[in-house]
């Protein structure tokens, strides 16, 4: 009660005594090219005040805590700087950022739940920013994540450094966060990429390796943290429209429609700050005819973010995101001769999804050494599968709630403490999974030591308790340790070890269906234990002549009790059944290396990455299913004046082991057919802002070679696709 009174008093004092209106406006440009930097982060340290630059590189902050303040300006690919400013809204200051040939200076938050530069992080991380997402015409986050080194997809299931295979739509060994809060479906525990507002993304941080010491269940193979944009201080209207078409199938046997298959969509968004309140809202529609029969898509989504600054040191943000989607239910092909037609029985079935999530976030800076925040998120998911005559074949509804309170204490320059407490609850009502409730609770503690300027270490531990009502309680303790050493400028060595775990989802525990297309039934597996992993990594980064960088990391993960489906005869049920079991002990070893360089005053950039995975079942000696051994990516980008363009090339070696049982039982005709993946994407764009038109026009060609491959058995990936995009802001 006392605490509540203090909290209310703080709010009212902020309302009654409004803040002084010190403001500053400016423009952030590239030091080398003098061109505006879009999406640069501008914020006042130790406060909740901040914004990002618009399409012209401009920003304004109207509620500086004092007439003299310090701004920290950062952008991906540039060195962050601190700038002392004086309040004067009449003058537009110009801030120049020097580009960094690599991302080592980029500010990230995921590794240690606080802001720090990438070179301070003791684990491997990759970042993609809004510019990359936009330039690749990504419609969903997974489209953009395919360009991350060491990452591949089994259609919609993400795999970081071979940590995950394909788990048939239940469970994910990669944890998805949006602004630091988990966004996994309460029933299946899978990532729903379409729930993420793609056009509101500031950047996506990908943490490679176990992250359960901070993030708990699910962070077995890595963490994806999607960070949304700050609200612009000035009125900003953004729009985007795109239209594309698929090339005709390469073979006559595959042609199933006389019509050209199109995709198109529109996005509009508006944001502005009114005194202490900032509002950002947007709507997005996307339609896709689909390149396969019954693979169409209709999706409508909306986004609303409201931020209220009680004072320079307190802020409250409410965000809601929702979408309604209907799509054809293409599960696998009829056979390779009819690769773009669904198997008999799937034809004309559809899946309708309605999902939304609400997030409330309160931030408080007590002083420059003590700050923290409280986040509450509710993720609702409902989907149902219907046949042509609208007969309901399957339906599931779930709600996932998470509360996370975190505090940071800067004890001194050498010691930073982070503590937190987390509670979560999942409620499921489903035809397939039944009606169930699970609850969880966690405590975490982390300490970062800086022994010397060039040597630091991080130690942390998290205690988790998870219980599905009616089942036994699971307790987990997951520690981590990491260190970073810079022997000299431009050179960084890092090492880390951490434990990860994933509690089985309600879907895995309670799935029960006879709708398998065969006489076999799937039965509940309530005895499942959590999966575990120990991840080790050692790596280093070396800058070369200020224009190039080499990074290499060696890693190993020892996985135990991996959950996999098995086919068995059940004497009690008098039937053949599929149930999940903790059966696999596995080891994944490998290395990942990358080279990034820039030339011609950094107008031309080149990047190449290679990832090798040796992922074996330690009991059978066989390679783990759905894991590629080699992943290579290269990118060449050129930017000059108003034009930019680039070529991406991705290679993923042929997956060596697949699920033979799935092919037999489904059955998936020719399901064993798969090849190495070679994908070339080309893009060219012109930013007409500099000649007076606030429009960016681009052409993307995905899969230029029109190469036919599968990411998941029985599913041909998209053929060559042309997409024209126009976007702008006012």
């Amino acid at each position: 009660m006392m605490k509540n009174s203090i909290f209310i008093a703080i709010i009212f004092s902020s309302l009654i005594f409004p803040q002084s209106k010190n403001s500053v406006r400016g423009k952030v440009i590239s030091f080398e090219e003098k061109s505006p930097i879009i999406g640069a982060s501008v914020f006042v340290p130790n406060t909740s005040i901040g914004t990002s630059t618009g399409i012209d590189g401009k920003f304004i902050i109207t509620n500086l805590p004092s007439a003299n303040a310090t701004l920290i300006i950062s952008a991906i690919g540039f060195k962050p700087i601190n700038v002392a400013v004086e309040s004067d809204s009449a003058i537009e200051m110009v801030i120049e950022l020097s580009s960094s040939p690599v991302q080592t200076q980029t500010v990230v938050v995921t590794a240690n739940k606080r802001q720090q530069t990438l070179e301070e992080v003791p684990v491997s991380m990759s970042i993609i920013d809004a510019k990359l997402i936009s330039s690749r015409t990504a419609i969903s986050v997974d489209d953009a994540l395919r360009y991350i080194p060491g990452v591949n997809f089994n259609q919609t299931q993400m795999n970081i450094r071979a940590s995950s295979g394909y788990s048939r739509g239940v469970g994910s060994r990669v944890l998805m966060l949006v602004d630091g809060m988990p966004l996994l479906a309460g029933d299946t525990g899978e990532i729903t990429f379409e729930s993420i507002p793609i056009f509101q993304i500031d950047r996506v941080e990908v943490l490679k390796g176990a992250g359960s010491a901070l993030y708990g269940s699910g962070a077995l193979g890595g963490v994806i943290n999607v960070l949304t944009k700050e609200i612009s201080e000035e009125p900003l209207f953004r729009w985007k429209t795109y239209s594309g078409m698929y090339s005709s199938p390469k073979f006559d046997e595959w042609k199933w429609s006389d019509k050209t298959r199109f995709t198109n969509g529109e996005y509009i968004g508006f944001e502005q700050k009114f005194d202490n309140i900032g509002i950002s809202t947007s709507l997005h529609r996307t339609f896709d005819d689909g390149y396969r029969e019954n693979d169409w898509l209709r999706r409508y989504s909306g986004f609303l973010k409201i931020k209220y600054d009680f004072s320079p040191t307190q802020a409250f943000t409410f965000t809601t995101t929702g979408f309604l989607q209907q799509r054809g239910d293409f599960l696998w092909w009829k056979n390779l001769t009819n690769a773009l037609r669904p198997a008999d029985g799937q034809r004309n079935a559809s899946v309708t999804s309605l999902r939304w999530n609400n997030t409330a976030h309160y931030t408080l800076y007590v002083n420059e050494n003590i700050f923290g925040d409280v986040k509450v998120v509710h993720f609702h998911s409902n989907w149902h599968r219907d046949s042509l005559n609208l007969k309901r074949m399957d339906e599931s509804s779930s709600d996932a709630f998470t509360v996370d309170a975190q505090g940071n204490l800067i004890v001194n320059k050498q010691n930073i403490l982070t503590v937190g407490i987390v509670g979560n609850r999942e409620e499921v009502q489903s035809m397939t999974f039944g009606t169930h409730v699970s609850n969880g609770f966690a405590l975490y503690l982390q300490d970062e030591f800086t022994f010397m300027q060039n040597f630091s270490a991080t130690a942390g531990v998290r205690y988790d308790v998870q219980q599905v009502k009616g089942l036994s309680q699971n307790e987990q303790i997951n520690p981590k340790f990491g260190m970073r050493y810079s022997p000299y400028e431009g050179s960084t060595l890092r090492a880390s070890v951490g434990r990860g775990f994933r509690a089985p989802s309600i879907g895995e525990l309670y799935v029960s269906t006879s709708n398998t297309g065969s006489s076999i039934v799937v039965v509940p597996s309530t005895y499942l234990k959590p999966e575990h992993s120990w991840s080790y990594e050692i790596g280093g980064t070396q800058l070369i002549s200020g224009e190039s960088m080499v990074d290499i990391a060696f890693f190993q993960s020892d996985l135990s009790d991996l959950i996999e489906p098995s086919v068995e005869l059940d004497q009690t049920l008098n039937a053949a059944v599929v149930r999940f079991r903790n059966i696999t002990q596995a080891r994944i070893q490998g290395f990942e290396t990358g080279y990034h360089s820039q030339w011609f005053d950094r107008a031309l950039s080149f990047e190449v990455n290679y990832n090798y995975n040796w992922a074996v079942n330690r009991e059978t000696g066989s390679f783990l299913k759905y894991r590629p051994r080699h992943i290579a990516m290269t990118n060449i980008s050129y930017e000059q004046a108003m034009f930019n363009g680039g070529i991406d090339f991705r290679f993923i070696s042929r997956v060596e082991e697949i699920d033979d049982n799935l092919i037999k039982l489904a059955p998936i005709n020719n399901g064993e057919q798969r090849v190495p993946i070679y994908i070339v994407d080309v893009r060219i764009a012109a930013n007409l802002t500099e000649i007076g038109y606030p429009i960016n026009a681009s052409l993307n060609i995905h899969n230029l070679l029109h190469y036919n491959y599968v990411e998941l058995i029985g599913n041909i990936a998209p053929p060559r696709q042309f997409v024209v995009t126009l976007e702008g802001s006012l």
């Binding site: 073979f251 390779l336 690769a339 005869l569 090339f649 033979d660 005709n669 020719n670 798969r674 070679y678």
Partner: protein, 217 residues
Amino acid sequence: MKVLNRSHLKNTQSMSFRDTKHREISILFLIIKTRFLTSFGMTIKFTFEIVSDICYFIIFIFLVLVGCDKGLTPVSNTVISPGFSGTITYKSPFPPTDSLIDLRIVAVPYYPVDTLFQDILLKVFSGEIAYSPNKLSTLDSGATASYEMLVTPKTYYYIAVVQQYGPSTFSQWRVVGVYGYSLASPTPKTVIVTDNKFISGINIDVDFYNLPPQPFK
């Protein structure tokens, strides 16, 4: 505007392209590089060695792409997918529905003599014994139904149609037709399935009331 002069080219050539096997590529590379630089008027700040290496890599990637195949093709379907097909001819009336719970084809890579049926089932689910994934269609008696089965390449000594006649999945099965079996020729015919081979004409007669010898205990 700076352009590459002869000495640059000569120097680069002497340093990086000595291998005669790559002479053509190196000339192509120099033309591309020279045109690229002159057309965009860039200041030359880089070292030729690094750019040469990178361009070699790009050319290598290009050659890989040009040389690689086009991925999956429908032709693969007819070449691969070992299996067999044929017809099931029902020689007798169907039994009552409550004694025709299921009807499948099994392909056994040995002669199942005096085998516990549960052992057969275990081998079915372990993949050692192939079986048709769906219940066979039961049309009117006297009719002929076609079937296809994809199987692991091996020699199958016993291909049969089996009927589940009661509720027990583990015990209430019987053989109602065997490939190659007749009273005149009671030895089942062997089918050899190899890689990239799909065999047709594996026709089986089914008579629910005149059963072939039962191999199960």
